[in-house]
Amino acid sequence: MLGSGIINGLIVTAKNFAGSYHDPERMVTVEYPEQKTVLPENYRNFPFLITENATDPMGTLRCVACQICEKECPPQCIIIEKSKDKKPDATGKLQLYPAIFGIDTSVCMSCQICVEVCPFDAIKMDKVFEIATTDRFQDLFLDRERLAKPNSYYHEIHPVEAAEVDGRLLAERKAAEEKAKVAAAAKAAAAAAKPVVTPPPATP
């Protein structure tokens, strides 16, 4: 009969109306500034740089200025300038570091490709999204100082991933140390066997 479809519709909306008072399925509003949705572990917004030590962020950047991310970044929003000198990284090896590292967040498309291609686990994705601003030239270009965040912060926002990365880095470091040790031992043995021959330069 004419009208039955309309009445069915009215019943559905009435159900939703009533449900909005008692059924959390039918009242899904999250009152944003007061309540916040828990961002998932994988959430990504803009990249940041990891520093090993929070007290000396610029001195302990993991980034070695290899410029892979600069090249791979699809919208080309990363700029890196290599340092002229080298300084020791966490393992004590001498490495280049970025004299300039800038990301233009007004261009960045949060695609995470920089993170994927980084061989040093130096750049990761941040979760901060409340960054509305009134001046795009000043506030949306992030330089090295504003990009650097300590490893502890990384653990805070991506606990699972950070633990995995740290484990991997530690294993690599250990392997490197083992190798160095073996090399040193071999060198020592060689030196003991043939004291006359000058040892070959140690390979890093």
Partner: protein, 220 residues
């Protein structure tokens, strides 16, 4: 962007007293209000955006209006399709050169006081598509933008955050005095020239009176 020079007023009017002072008076039971405050309260709680989506960010703008995020809580769910009734233009998405004249025309059709939010990387700077030949590198080349919300696309919460910032900005606006809001000053333009379609690009490519990126010297 246009921060007028702050000159000290010798006799601060009621509207010019600071928040702290007002809080202090409040604690003593004195309600200090003024026409200005009432006006700003009304405007900041009734921001009707223009129903106008350009690209990907428009979906997140719609999402901000849906049940989960509910922009209605701020009194801003009345998306007016006609610019005549809108207070806020959310430029949500890539502004192409073909679209730019229309966007500026819409802005010109909006009555004062009006505000503009550039939502997402594309609206701010052209974003990932800035290398494209038909993409305008930022809507602020032609119209003044109050709030920039970076992200690609920004979460609906980020849009709400931008809206809250805009509300704060409106609440801090003054109607008179040297720091008066833009829309009260007759010398500030309300309409902006609309570029023409040229043979290779828009003519002109930017509004020089409005858009001045910092030069490296100025920065250093």
């Amino acid at each position: 962007m246009s921060d007028p020079v702050t000159s000290p007023t010798p006799f601060p009017a009621a509207g010019n007293i600071s928040d702290a002072e007002r809080e202090d008076l409040r604690r003593h039971g004195i309600l200090m209000t003024s026409l200005e405050e009432l006006h700003n309260w009304g405007r900041s709680n009734s921001i009707w955006p223009l129903q106008f989506g350009l690209a990907c960010c428009a979906i997140e703008m719609i999402a901000a209006a849906t049940a989960r995020f509910d922009i209605a809580r701020f009194g801003a769910e009345i998306f007016r399709p006609s610019p005549r009734q809108a207070d806020l233009m959310i430029v949500s998405g890539t502004v192409t050169k073909k679209m730019a004249p229309q966007v500026i025309r819409l802005w010109n059709q909006m009555p004062e006081p009006k505000y503009c939010i550039a939502m997402g990387a594309c609206a701010i700077s052209g974003g990932p598509f800035k290398q494209g030949y038909n993409v305008l590198k930022g809507i602020d080349r032609f119209i003044p933008v109050d709030i920039y919300i970076p992200g690609c696309p920004p979460r609906p919460e980020a849009l709400l955050n931008g809206l809250i910032q805009l509300q704060k900005q409106i609440k801090a606006e003054q109607l008179t005095g040297p720091n008066a809001a833009r829309f009260t000053r007759p010398e500030e333009p309300s309409e902006f020239p609309i570029p023409a379609y040229g043979a290779h690009d828009l003519v002109p490519t930017k509004n020089d009176a409005l858009w001045a990126p910092p030069t490296p010297e100025a920065k250093a």
